[in-house]
Symmetry: C2
Subunit: 230 residues, 2 copies
């Protein structure tokens, strides 16, 4: 399992989900691509297999994808986050970890992508924690890794992924999956409430990107060498 | 002037101000250390001269320090920001740039340093912009550079400084001063309203620091090489 995990991606046909799927497939993970439409999920899986010949990928309804492993990634736009979480209410089981990658960009309501919306619970991740069934734990991660960079097969990643969650053991399991992707280092950013800040990194990076015509990422300097997750 | 600028630091006897003063003095800038108490300002200037023998430093009342150069740094805690800005109302002149370094940590009201306060105007920097006299421009910067790292003469800096402001020319002038300090790179993070996000980086770093027992900084990866401020 640690050698070849299965990674379900809810919204795996979107830009972020597809980019992550591609990177994870290249790293040897099996991907369960979820979508509201099984046809689109199967199409995306076929595309992934054509791009990454060694890919082990299947296309499924989101609810079916969510059952494929204990750790499930939610990569939908903020506009669709609540709807997806409602649809997953019967699918998620106690003990599962939902990794929420949602960023509440004002673009969700036709505002700017350099601005964000206030979320009543404090962050999109905390909204997710409120909406998942009892016993499911939310971890927030992967907000700052750009879909265009993930999708570009020639682009080498070189950035950190702040991970927020209330239990270090959960974050460590998610970190293990994130670090399967070469060039990504998972950093423990604190409890889930820190998603209020980490989700804001994305509009900041979008602002920087527009000024530097690039796809910037985040690094923390000054951290000790080696892995921090044991 | 570009060779040996004068840098006024309001609140220059505090941890951040003193740390910046030390680094700038070592880089050859002349420092005007401001305080509410001229005695404490003079003490801090004497201490700086004893630590950095080549330092050109004077201690002044904040209001007097603010007149020493066009670009003035405000490095007081959030708790004291409004009071300081009130006191500077007669001292600041049109055409000056006030560089606000304030972070609205919840620690200001005996809360946690990993949490922040909501500021009515959106950010401490936007509050500053509302409070300065007409014609004075606020630029936000230097939130994420840690006072302990600045104060440690042996610590090499290796981090970026996101700079927010509504005019690129103003940010470029501030960036020039920031980049006098070896190891700091100023990054254009967008208009002043982006201080809403940039000010939040500090509580995030404090959270990371407590987990990794370090003094972390921020880097943007993927930016083009060379200076971006011409």
């Amino acid at each position: 399992m640690a050698e070849s995990p299965v990674i379900p991606i809810i919204g795996g046909t979107g830009a972020l989900g597809a980019g992550l799927a591609r990177r994870w497939a290249r790293a040897g993970a099996s991907i369960a691509i979820g979508s509201r439409s099984v046809e689109r999920a199967e199409e995306a899986a076929a595309k992934l297999r054509s791009e990454v010949p060694e890919a082990n990928a299947e296309g499924l309804l989101n609810e079916d994808a969510a059952g494929r492993a204990e750790i499930v990634f939610l990569t939908v736009p903020f506009r669709a986050q609540s709807e997806n979480l409602n649809n997953l209410r019967e699918a998620l089981r106690p003990g599962q970890i939902l990794v929420d990658c949602t960023v509440p960009l004002a673009a969700a309501v036709s505002g700017k992508a350099t601005r964000s919306l206030g979320v009543w619970q404090g962050s999109a991740a905390q909204q997710a924690q409120e909406m998942v069934p009892d016993g499911v734990t939310v971890v927030a991660a992967l907000h700052t890794v750009g879909a265009p960079t993930l999708a570009n097969a020639d682009a080498e990643l070189d950035e950190d992924v702040p991970v927020c969650g209330d239990r270090k053991a959960d974050k460590a399991r998610v970190a293990h999956l994130i670090e399967l992707i070469p060039g990504l280092r998972a950093v423990n950013a604190g409890p889930l409430e820190m998603a209020r800040i980490v989700e804001q990194l994305t509009p900041m990076l979008i602002s920087v990107n527009s000024r530097y015509k690039t796809h910037a990422g985040i690094r923390f300097t000054g951290l000790p060498d080696g892995t921090h997750w044991q």
